[in-house]
């Protein structure tokens, strides 16, 4: 036993030491970083905001099948920051961006937020693609003492439960939430008397559930005569939708309402074409179908008229609307900078930075409490139109139309034509909110 014990002693000693080494080294590193970078104590400078650089920490998914969204967020924010810095920054302080991959994993998003705020020293946070990540990041903002502008995650719960319900004032959302996909769609299709039988092919997670539930509630209000005849749920990473499509087509629907997005949306639509769906139905509403990556993905099929003008879509911003100088300028400079069309996530991020600018200039301070005051009720002109941050739930109110996916000679990729425009009040849920029932 003796010899043996000696061995294992040595084993433990060395490794223990290694452990301490690793631990302390890294932690001291982190610690030091935190001390010097902590924005809490401003450096002696005559800058209004007290810092030379305003650090902006963003995140989005930049890996996997949905990577384009993160890329677009990054691109939009970068463009805005370059513009602002070129004009001398905000109140004399330049902006600096650090962007991280949230991997669509809430745990990662939280870790990133903590790293950005407490180690890298971000003054302002924005981003996050998935609802789960948003719902996870929201609650820790008070502890981090930072505001975060969410520019993609769309669950209504973020603003209705966390801000309006739990009173987490550090949360703001610049993007239109699921109302866009459900209530707007309902408002459009209540005008189609022949479409009576609706089917759904939806994401097998919160986004799909709430969108489908809300769509049914709202449409029923205007059209008691419609039926919702069948539904198929597609888990994350569904690549073969043929079972889902045939399952819902079995009920002979007049129209289909679908949420799978990004690459999955493209696969769904191409496979629907293959299965001759568009010969049978009258309309297909593709939520977020106005997203650039999706439009690029089905560009050939649209050009060939395979969808027979039955494909409808919306997005939280569409590059061909509104017809304003702000929007024209944004699209042009985005295309010049990145040589691609801006996605809604890009516009959201771009506007987010300008929202920061407006808030900082109004508050003339980096204190979270001041920024919250400045942002509540803020009205600001953005490429997507005028946005108004509702004080009750910190949700930005602005109008985005839905329309048919069509080819336009002036654009290399499909656009939304035959636009149906409603005032936001018409399709936004308004306080007081009561939680929405989602049988599923």
């Amino acid at each position: 036993m003796r010899e043996k014990r000696k061995i294992s002693r040595r084993a433990f000693l060395k490794t223990a030491v290694a452990g301490i080494g690793g631990m302390t080294l890294a932690l001291n590193g982190g610690g030091a970083a935190a001390q010097e970078k902590s924005p809490a104590k401003p450096k002696p400078a005559k800058k209004v905001l007290g810092v030379d650089v305003i650090k902006v920490g963003g995140q989005g998914v930049i890996s996997g099948a949905h990577a384009d969204y993160g890329w677009q967020i990054q691109a939009g924010a970068t463009l805005a920051i370059e513009e602002i810095n070129a004009k001398g920054g905000i109140l004399g302080s330049k902006l600096e961006l650090k962007f991280m991959d949230e991997e669509l994993k809430p745990a990662v998003a939280v870790k990133n937020a903590r790293y950005l705020a407490t180690d890298w020293g971000a003054h302002l946070l924005f981003g996050v693609d998935s609802s789960g990540s948003a719902m996870a990041v929201g609650p820790i903002l008070p502890e981090l003492d930072r505001i975060c502008v969410f520019d993609h995650a769309s669950t209504h719960r973020l603003t209705e439960e966390l801000v309006y319900g739990k009173g987490i004032k550090q949360i703001f959302r610049i993007a239109a939430p699921v109302y866009q996909e459900s209530n707007l769609a309902a408002l459009i299709f209540k005008e189609f008397p022949n479409i009576k039988r609706w089917a759904g092919i939806h994401c097998d997670y919160e986004y799909g559930y709430s969108t489908w539930a809300l769509f049914q509630d709202t449409l029923k209000k205007y059209r008691p005569d419609v039926e919702f005849v069948s539904i198929a749920w597609a888990p994350f990473w569904t690549m073969d939708f043929s079972s889902h499509i045939s399952a819902v087509m079995a009920a002979n629907p007049d129209a289909i309402h679908a949420t799978p997005w990004a690459g999955e949306g493209v696969m769904l639509l191409r496979q629907a074409l293959m299965m001759g769906v568009f010969d049978k139905i009258q309309a297909w509403f593709q939520c977020m179908g106005g997203s650039v990556d999706l439009l690029e993905g089905i560009s050939n099929e649209v050009a060939a008229g395979k969808f027979k003008d039955k494909l409808w879509a919306t997005a939280r911003y569409i590059h061909n609307y509104p017809d304003t100088p702000e929007n024209k300028k944004f699209v042009e400079s985005f295309r010049k900078r990145w040589n691609r069309f801006p996605n809604y996530s890009a516009e959201n991020a771009y506007s987010t930075i300008y929202v920061f600018k407006a808030a900082l200039e109004k508050a003339r301070s980096l204190k979270t409490s001041d920024l919250i005051k400045a942002l509540e009720g803020l009205k600001i002109m953005t490429p997507a139109g005028e946005r108004y941050f509702r004080p009750e739930d910190h949700q930005a109110i602005y109008a985005v139309p839905g329309g048919r996916v069509v080819k336009d000679p002036n654009y290399p990729l499909p656009i939304l034509g035959d636009l149906k425009i409603f005032s936001p009040q018409a399709y936004y849920r308004n306080p007081p909110f009561e939680p929405l029932k989602m049988g599923k």
Binding site: I7, R9, R10, F12, K14, A16, G30, Y115, E143
Partner: protein
């Protein structure tokens, strides 16, 4: 003697951490401690009993959801953590009975599928789990024993000490177990199942014990998470999360007591640091795994110490 000294130094440094480390470093430290507990339990199965489980994240998630639900209903840290651990233990005992009849690949596949069943439950049983949004707004409840004491946990420093306490306890107990007769029996099973049976030891019994203990450890790691993050989401149960203790343990060394702990430190810091410089941290990790399997199955500890590299 030397060992004791090293351990004391380590404990001392960890105890003083909040005084010389920043907020984020503290947060990282907590996560490393959780991963260490998680990996230790895993290695009782893998390194000491010879069973590679790809479903440990399932029990981690049970612990996390259990603790989360309790804290949302009754804000007492101890109740949450203990409840979560016990729940995870019960589940692992139950599934263990079904799993231990299998070995090698079949065991790995069965644990994988049970883990994924828990994942899909977390995803689908929305009234209970909140679906993919998960359980939100879980309070970091105070540590209290009614009538005795009550410590506020709002400051992360305080919670760090709670985690440190549980981690030290878990590691100490683990050390006792693997150096006990039962630990020896498990190693016997790892080295030769048939031989162990033919000296009068019930292989299945000790497999089940190891499986349950591993589940309890996973559950403890999981139960300590919600108070930190205030959220619990399904990815915690996904097989890719089960892979983390596997990689950490492999990195540190599966044949040494301290392997999983050292591995957890390296694994977490490695990822945390690489991620800051490149989004391609997976490929670095993959290369490390390949190199370890090809050449250094004893892991880092094995490289340091002859004992570790023994096959």
């Amino acid at each position: 003697m030397k060992t004791r000294l090293a351990v004391l130094i380590l404990l001392f440094l960890l105890a003083l951490l909040p005084f010389y480390a920043g907020k984020y470093a503290l947060y990282v430290a907590i996560h490393i401690l959780l991963l260490s507990i998680f990996s230790l339990g895993f290695n009782l199965l893998f390194g000491y009993t010879g069973l590679l489980s790809f479903g440990q994240a399932g029990f981690y998630a049970v612990g996390a959801y259990g603790c989360g639900k309790i804290l949302l209903a009754y804000p007492s840290l101890l109740a949450g953590i203990v409840g979560g651990v016990l729940l995870a233990g019960a589940v692992s005992l139950l599934l263990g009975i079904l799993c231990i009849r299998h070995t090698r690949i079949y065991f790995s596949m069965l644990t994988l599928s049970f883990g994924m069943m828990i994942f899909s439950l977390a995803w689908k049983w929305r009234d209970m789990t909140g679906g993919d949004d998960g359980l939100v707004g879980i309070p970091r409840a105070p540590l209290e024993v009614p009538g005795l004491f009550k410590i506020n946990m709002a400051a992360m420093e305080n919670y760090y000490y709670v985690v440190l306490g549980f981690a030290v306890l878990a590691i100490y107990l683990f050390h006792r177990i693997i150096h006990s007769p039962m630990g020896l029996a498990m190693q016997g099973i790892r080295d030769s199942e048939t031989r162990t049976a033919c000296i009068g030891i019930s292989v299945q019994k000790y497999r089940l014990v190891a499986f349950t203990i591993a589940g309890l450890y996973a559950g403890l790691a999981g139960a300590l998470l919600p108070p930190l993050e205030s959220t619990v989401t399904p990815p915690l149960a996904h097989w890719s999360h089960s892979a983390e203790p596997v990689l950490a343990t492999l990195l540190g060394g599966i044949y040494a007591f301290s392997g999983p702990i050292v591995g957890s430190v390296l694994f977490y810091l490695l990822k945390d640091i690489i991620v800051r410089f490149t989004e391609y941290w997976l490929i670095c990790l993959g290369i490390i795994v390949v190199i370890l399997v090809m050449g250094f199955r004893g892991g880092v500890v094995g490289i340091f110490v002859r004992e570790g590299s023994r096959r």
